[in-house]
């Protein structure tokens, strides 16, 4: 299967400005992760707040400075020139979490949807712009498209706003989309429509998604593969059924166990992990999960476990998984 993205040892470190006299600290937001995404695949990144999901997405889209051993988009290095980046940006788009903030309140829907066309100078005429915007809106489930052209975001519901966001990112016919919590602000009923829309685009255009979420059951539902992140590291990658039904990493197992399951009454207390996630500026030796791991060994605090393949397509970074 052809790969849309291949990433090896990706790191994004932010230097914090120290207050006067104090030492400068570094946030290791993403600290050496490797994965690849197949063409047409939905690849989910799941992890707690601050684990580095958004930063990973931004790094792939060349929106934050990063280092890596390898980053290939469709098998090629992303050219770090103005033209190279411009070409790349047409093929790779981002959908943000909050449809209330990602739309400029002073712009009409038509301008919002057609903005990528304008920015990339891709429209031949005004008619062309109107026509393509109309089609984009209608494909996003807002028909007739022209009825929405001259409305403002505040006149639309949350679900409609998120459709506008999607219409605007799909108008470029991208090959790759980073969807950062695209439905977490939306109601269950609207959510389904948006997810179906995203999957419809995948079927029609073969677009690949990096889907960012903290909702494991949602990730399971829509993705082919899931990667579990903790403190800037990937702990486990596998196809979505393996992650839910055959997880190996103790962190993944803990997450799956406490997932709320609709309709099921709970017996006894939820098994919450002890302690708190370390501060991202702390230096953590060994496995990043060690301080909260219920089954850690002496070795775990000293040496970081490498990512190993436990079965084809299923990788885990845990000393316990080594045989």
């Amino acid at each position: 299967m052809a790969k849309i993205f291949e990433v090896e040892n990706l790191k994004v470190h932010f230097k914090l400005k120290g207050t006067f006299g104090s030492q400068k600290k570094t946030v290791k937001a993403v600290d050496g992760i490797s994965f690849s995404i197949d063409e047409g695949e939905v690849f989910s990144l799941v992890g707690e707040s601050g684990s580095g999901k958004t930063t990973t997405g931004k790094a792939l889209l060349q929106l934050v400075p990063y280092t890596c051993e390898k980053m290939l988009f469709k098998g090629e290095v992303i050219e770090n020139s103005k033209v190279g980046l411009k070409n790349f940006r047409q093929k790779a788009q981002m959908i943000y979490q909050d449809p209330y903030q990602s739309l400029n309140p002073r712009n009409e829907i038509l301008d919002i949807v057609s903005e990528p066309l304008i920015v990339n100078k891709l429209t031949e005429s005004e008619e062309d712009r109107l026509e393509r915007s109309r089609i984009a809106l209608e494909e996003a489930g807002m028909a007739p498209g022209e009825d929405y052209f001259f409305r403002y975001p505040y006149e639309l519901s949350g679900g409609q706003r998120q459709r506008v966001v999607i219409a605007s990112s799909m108008i470029m016919k991208p090959d790759f989309v980073v969807a950062d919590e695209p439905v977490s602000m939306l109601d269950a009923s609207i959510r389904t429509g948006i997810l179906r829309l995203m999957m419809k685009f995948r079927e029609e255009t073969g677009v690949s998604y990096l889907f960012i979420t903290h909702d494991l059951s949602l990730a399971w539902l829509i993705s082919d593969k899931i990667a579990i992140m903790y403190l800037g590291k990937i702990m486990e990658i596998g196809n979505s059924d393996i992650i839910i039904k055959g997880a190996v990493h103790p962190y993944t197992k803990a997450l799956v166990e406490i997932m709320p399951k609709p309709g099921q009454a709970r017996l006894g207390e939820r098994n919450v992990l002890e302690g708190e996630t370390p501060d991202p500026t702390d230096v953590v030796e060994g496995c990043k999960f060690c301080s909260r791991c219920p089954v850690h060994m002496d070795k775990c605090a000293i040496e970081e476990p490498p990512m190993i393949e436990v079965e084809p397509g299923h990788q885990v970074a845990c000393w316990r998984a080594m045989k």
Partner: protein
């Protein structure tokens, strides 16, 4: 006597476009130590119900009818002056994203102490001691009163908000989406905490959410709201196992169930109702697959269809029998 009895509560907002019947005749009760889940689409009136019970409605909003009996005393008809004694002391609310409301340049302990001083009239020193013990109650070491919010994780901050809501030993605590936007681990931590407090203090708890999957394992009873009304209310298991309202049925099917096969949810067809113009008849009729002529003309009443199980639908048997 029940801890709380809400009878035919109606809360309307008057705005220039007309009247929003945000809560339009809801009834339920809550016992000591019991947890009730309130679930429904955005805009169906969940928050307004909570604000009515706690008597902190914005000025456009007014309780126009009904009773809110707290240990038998009707709060609905009380004057502003009479109610101030009950507000916070007996009913407290913890809001969604409340943790973002913490003041970043003020120590955690001072912020809790401020709430304690305001509502209980304690002196600063005593209030700080109370702040430390409240932190302990939510499983955060008392000495951390000297930390600033940025030194706390998201989950810890949300627990601080719960600590504040507990400052006056309320009889009822309302969580309005208290765990939305938090990851499963932090969510579980908060829910454990709430359960602990509920049994320790025999406190009544109302959990407001649009995430149905949370409710089965957290609440004793679930009330499903649609367009300002309760359309189905029952013991949690019955809501899932003997679903009887078409809206509840659709809502349940919106949530992925990892114990079942991967099936993209069907969603709920149509659009949420315009709260300014609720149509004649059943408000869900325009979106309902079981709709019949009667539904478009006569609004169904909430009727008992099983033990402690109430539904308002003319065709509930179609859903209940699958």
């Amino acid at each position: 006597m029940k801890l709380l009895e809400v009878k035919n509560l109606k809360t309307y907002f008057t705005i220039k476009q007309g009247t929003v019947k945000a809560v339009d005749g809801i009834s339920f009760d809550l016992d000591y130590g019991e947890a009730l889940g309130l679930v429904g689409e955005s805009g169906c009136g969940k928050t307004t119900s909570a604000l009515s019970i706690a008597h902190i409605l914005p000025k456009e909003g007014e309780i126009v009818d009904g009773e809110i009996l707290l240990e038998g005393v009707d709060l609905a008809k009380m004057s502003e002056k009479e109610i101030s004694k009950y507000r916070w002391n007996d009913v407290s609310i913890c809001f969604q994203g409340a943790m973002n409301a913490l003041n970043p340049v003020m120590k955690i302990g001072e912020q809790i102490a401020e709430a304690v001083m305001l509502h209980q009239g304690l002196h600063e020193k005593k209030a700080l001691e109370k702040a430390a013990s409240l932190l302990e109650l939510v499983d955060i070491p008392g000495e951390r009163i000297n930390n600033y919010p940025h030194e706390f994780s998201g989950g810890m901050k949300q627990r601080v908000m719960i600590a504040m809501a507990l400052a006056c030993d309320p009889k009822i605590m309302i969580g309005d989406e208290p765990t939305t936007a938090l990851d499963v681990m932090v969510q579980a931590q908060i829910l454990n905490l709430i359960e602990k407090l509920r049994s320790e203090f025999n406190m009544g708890f109302i959990l407001i959410t649009h995430d149905l999957s949370l409710l089965a394992e957290t609440c004793d009873k679930i009330a499903v709201m649609y367009a300002g009304k309760i359309v189905e209310i029952a013991r949690s298991q019955d809501i899932f196992e003997h679903t009887s309202h078409p809206y509840t049925d659709k809502l349940i099917k919106c949530f992925p169930d990892v114990t079942k096969g991967k099936l993209m949810p069907e969603g709920i067809p149509g659009t949420p109702p315009n709260m300014l113009e609720i149509p004649l008849g059943c408000p869900f009729a325009p979106r309902c697959e079981q709709v019949c002529n009667k539904c478009r003309q006569v609004a169904p009443e909430l009727t008992e269809v099983g033990n402690e199980h109430f539904v308002s639908c003319h065709n509930w048997e179609v859903i209940a029998n699958g």
